[in-house]
Amino acid sequence: MADAAALLLALQMGDSAFPSGGFGFSWGLETLKSDGLVRDGADVIAFAQAQLWHRWASADRPVLRAALAARGDLNRLAALDREVEAMNLAVEQREGSRRMGRALVRSHVTMDTPGAKAFQAAQREGRVLGHLPVAQGVVWGGAGLDIDGAEAVSAFAVAAGVGQAAVRLALIGPVEAQAMIAGLRGTIAALLARPCPDRPHAFVPAAEIAVMRHESGEARLFAN
């Protein structure tokens, strides 16, 4: 086991109670449910697997890794942010990523996490956009997480976030969600053991179309 301090830090950063607004986003799941395309636990697992394999591992992970390494280099962080902005076709996907990033940074500013205040100031001046994986790299690095810890926490947050949204959409029960996350731990471990791609890319078309359809849809429990 990792040393206790590192483990406790990772647990706190990955705690779903950490105020960063994650409960407000479903990343397409709300619309896929209302369209009848995600109906049960097996569908939710497939959705979570797709988010992990084809978005988190290929897009969020390399951005997070680069942002954590580039902490304090606002020009580099701004370039990463622009790349994330350009990659996210759906408006609510882009806005969701920026909103969650700002919310995460805001909490860390209040907690005096090193680097958070300067990044928030740059955000407010419009020098950086503050997308979620960039913000995670900045504040988690500032809090003392190393790259392995940050990657694990970030991937876990995707799995846990899908689980929580699915419970609130009444697609699965709360214990079923934990069973799903238990299974996804193996997926995450396998992804973490693979080399990180140099360039971010993502391909989750059903989820992205659902996020686009959400903009004008009736279902509004979630922000996307």
Partner: protein
Amino acid sequence: MTAATTGHPGAARVGIGGPVGSGKTALLEQLIPRFAVRGTRLAVITNDLVTKEDAERLRRSGLIAPERVLAVEAGACPHTVIREDPTLNLDAADLLEERFSPLDLILLESGGDNLASTFSLELVDYWMFVIDVAGGGDIPRKKGPGVVQADILVINKPDLATHVGVDLDAMVAEARAVRGDRPVLVTNCRNGEGVDAVVEAIARDVLFDGGT
């Protein structure tokens, strides 16, 4: 209005909570024109639970510039978005202040919730809880945290008391008994009766301009 008077930079932030259908949006619709007359520079955040209906209703009301109304989705968690994790509402308040600075007051309307609903003081400086007569005369007696802890308890729809078998005077007396010295105000948000007292309380306690 300065940081010295509100405890944080920028506009005062006032929450409006309460059960579904108690009259939170109707109260907002009565408050907005009164603050406009006073010259209070205002913006609004709504936490609609399942739709954008409250935000759209306000935007179309003609009472306030539509861009000064932001909707924050609660992910089916009306408690969470105002208490356990208010960051999305804080972010919306920051955006309104950036866009419309200087603002004096931001009103935050919670999604309809239950009697245990309370606002975090990390989000608001002051908050009101709106209940209504038709919801039952026994609501104050239950001493829900919303009823007891809010800075103002608003009891709405007094005109319905005789139709739903509620003794309004007893309801108000019980509310006062559970709240000590803190205000209990009776409003009819359909015709505006009693709303001036809410504006005066906010002006006196939050805006520090002495009321009207």
